[in-house]
């Protein structure tokens, strides 16, 4: 299946990761000057992080493509991010933006035969891409675990909760059933499920939605993972239960110091949970920085559009300003900025830059860790003068 378009774009993807290296903090930049070997070291350790801490998970120039009967679907294009231990990165985007696909790549959950993955995913310094299925199995559920959106379909309906929890533990630890059971009961207690011994013997259908999600979290934490990927963990839950689960994730993170990648479409959840935010659009990162930077001083028209289209509980909004149109097809991404067709600010960029050249992910104020992908020159003044007043 040959589709020339994505290959043409490959060199540009390369540029993105270079753009990110320009975003390294001054210390790293100074270190980079000392010599090429040190520079590569620093790069490998991935000091490309908004917090400046040494990251545990480093994703670099990740691309995920699926050959299909209709052509090559470029689900993720040149995505780079990093998460240190104890920190939460929220990946935000609409359906089809590639947020789930990129995280499934981290877990190695894509069908190898049907997926083309390139780039680098390093966990505590070890490369995951290219690992055999057996080696991946050792990492999956142990160092990295995942909490899925729908606990109803991600728990096995024919096994008891206890059975599933102990299995998860015994796969990675050579212990007797009794020891595993003790551990499972401990975990159920920890995630706030009342009466663990009784719940241990019950089946998933006997749990309510919130309790099921707690059991799911217990299962994902049973091996003390250093990285938890939570894919829309509360989308299927009610607001009051959602608040309980988000608190639980927060508290567990404080206790275990694990890194969390939170995938969500809800900017409210992002505001409550995230340290760092990465906004995805059509398979690319369009804005990346600390939560305060991205949500309070966004520098990309798509992020502005998202913020303007949400009615919040705390403010009576006037008319909503939706983003016009639909996201582009991943089969045939447009040249230039993928958001150009929906962007109200295209005319303010000279020439036809927006539709011909893909903007690089660059630091918004010339330096620093807050980056965005947009050709607009005066992003800060447009935001302050036009967008911020509308947000109230």
């Amino acid at each position: 299946m040959s589709n020339p378009a994505p290959q043409d774009r490959a060199p540009e993807d390369r540029k993105d990761s270079m753009a990110e290296s320009a975003a390294t903090p001054p210390a790293a930049a100074a270190a980079a000057k000392r010599g090429p070997s040190v520079a590569t070291r620093e790069r490998r350790d991935g000091l490309v992080n908004p917090s400046g801490e040494t990251p545990y998970l480093v994703v670099e120039d990740l691309s995920v493509k699926f050959p299909t009967a209709d052509g090559l679907v470029s689900a993720v294009n040149g995505l780079s991010y990093s998460v240190p231990l104890g920190r939460t990165l929220a990946i935000v985007g609409e359906s089809g933006s590639g947020k789930s696909v990129s995280s499934m790549a981290v877990m190695g959950l894509h069908d190898r035969k049907r997926t083309r993955i390139s780039g680098s995913i390093r966990l505590g310094g070890d490369e995951l891409i290219g690992l055999s299925e057996n080696d991946l199995m050792k990492i999956r559920g142990d160092a990295v675990s995942m909490v899925f959106q729908d606990p109803q379909s991600s728990l096995h309906p024919l096994y008891t909760i206890g059975n599933q929890l102990t299995e998860a533990y015994r796969v990675h630890h050579k212990v007797s059933k009794d020891v595993a059971k003790k551990r499972a009961l401990e975990m159920l207690e920890l995630v706030g499920i009342p009466n663990p011994p009784r719940r241990f013997a019950q089946y998933p259908h006997e749990f309510s939605g919130g309790m099921r999600q707690r059991a799911m979290i217990a299962m994902s934490l049973i091996n003390d993972p250093k990285l938890v990927i939570a894919d829309e963990p509360t989308t299927a839950l009610d607001v009051t239960v959602q608040a309980q689960i988000l608190d639980l994730l927060n508290n567990l993170q404080k206790e275990f110091g694990s890194a969390i990648v939170l995938i969500t479409h809800d900017l409210g959840v992002v505001a409550e949970m995230a340290d760092d935010v990465l906004v995805m659009y059509a398979g690319r990162c369009v804005e990346y920085g600390t939560a305060a930077d991205v949500l309070a001083n966004p520098r990309m028209p798509y992020t502005w559009g998202l913020l303007e289209s949400i009615p919040t509980v705390s403010a009576a909004s006037e008319r909503l300003r939706p983003i016009k149109g639909l996201p582009p097809s991943l089969l045939n991404l447009p040249d230039g900025c993928s958001f150009a067709a929906r962007c109200p600010y295209v005319e303010r960029v000279k020439g036809e830059l927006c539709t011909t050249q893909l903007p690089e992910l660059l630091p918004v104020d010339g330096a620093g860790a807050h980056t965005s992908r947009c050709h607009l020159h005066d992003k800060a003044s447009i935001y302050e003068a036009e967008v911020a007043p509308r947000l109230g």
């Binding site: 998202l306 509980v313 403010a315």
Partner: protein, 339 residues
């Protein structure tokens, strides 16, 4: 003051469930809705909020008579339609339309858009033969779709566009009331705002009254003038938008507002206090005695278990603001303040 269009009085829906117990069968009921009353003004918008299982959708289905209530009245312009037979009901069906949550399962995949939208026109004899297509195209244009696409099938449209088709179908018979049952919760945020704006336009331009059922408190705050908060089949608090969002009286409303993830926490000043409910909603088969919320309420005392609180105006509250709680008191600062 505009005229009251719809009056709902003490509406109940009890679904019987069969359970084999020993030799005989015990009769149990799920009290999905248990005594709900509200008024809807002409071109008004009432929001029904609550968590899953609180009976908000069942209420919507009873008003459109997709379900026949166990008890209570639904007065549409003075006529009680709660127990009307199908034949007598038909003229009222035209006045009361519904838009469903899931734009994928609420449109027949084997019918063209034109057919989907024109069926209600034919059923109610609203257009002459040969004029159908023109009317369908007019409706498509009204909801922001390309009129040329009338011959397409639902699978050729995106989620947001399908929801527009569902809205066009409801509009076809020129209803006075539309029940919108979670009309935007299956859509992406940017698309959600497009559909919200469309609904607002319809309300403003055509004077259609809305019963807006949603779990998203932000969306309800944006769209509705009046808000009723439901818990386990009952309305626990009701009032104008400002009364409910700025000075909620019932502990459940306060907990809901406090639990809603809020973008304002980063953009403005986060609230000082967080209310977190414990546990889950009890079963509607055997709801708690007295106040149904007492099992999760931090204010509950003995009286709450024995005496059911009435939905009434409290001495401290402003006119029209009712709450069903023995210990109701207004609470502010539950959501983030703007900086």
């Amino acid at each position: 003051m505009s005229e009251t269009l719809l009056q709902v009085r003490d509406l109940k829906m009890h679904f019987p469930i069969k359970e084999a117990a020993g030799l005989g069968r015990t009769k149990k009921v799920v009290q999905a809705v248990d005594g709900v009353s509200f008024d809807l003004k002409q071109s008004g918008s009432l929001g029904l909020v609550g968590e899953s299982g609180c009976g908000k959708s069942t209420t919507g289905r009873m008003i459109t008579r997709l379900l026949t209530p166990t008890a209570g009245q639904i007065l549409f312009k003075g006529t009680d339609i709660a127990q009307l037979k199908e034949r007598e009901l038909r003229p009222f069906r035209r006045q009361l339309q519904i838009v469903f949550q899931d734009p994928y399962s609420s449109l027949n995949p084997r019918q063209t858009v034109s057919n989907i939208i024109s069926t209600p026109l034919r059923v109610h004899n609203l257009v002459k033969k040969g004029k159908e297509l023109a009317r369908v195209q007019e409706l498509l244009e009204r909801v922001g779709l390309n009129p040329e696409h009338h011959n397409r099938y639902p699978n050729e449209f995106s989620g947001g566009q399908r929801q527009r088709i569902g809205i066009a179908r409801a509009l076809a018979v020129e209803p006075e009331v539309i029940i919108a049952d979670e009309p935007v919760s299956a859509l992406d945020v940017s698309i959600q705002a497009q559909v919200m704006n469309l609904l607002e336009d319809l309300r403003r331009d055509l004077g259609i009254a809305f019963v807006f059922i949603a779990h998203d408190l932000g969306v309800v705050r944006h769209f509705c003038d009046e808000v009723a908060v439901m818990y386990l089949g009952k309305i626990v608090e009701q009032g104008s938008r400002d009364q409910i969002y700025n000075a909620p009286q019932h502990p459940y409303t306060q907990a809901l507002l406090s639990a809603a993830p809020d973008l304002g926490t980063i953009r403005g000043v986060p609230p000082k206090e967080r209310i977190r409910l414990v546990g889950d909603v009890p079963s509607p088969i055997d709801p708690p005695s007295g106040c149904r919320f007492r099992t999760r309420c931090w204010k509950a005392e003995d009286i709450c278990a024995t005496q059911e609180p009435l939905l009434e105006i409290k001495p401290q509250s402003s006119p029209g603001h009712t709450a069903a709680c023995h210990f109701a008191e207004p609470k502010v600062d539950l959501t983030a303040a703007t900086a």
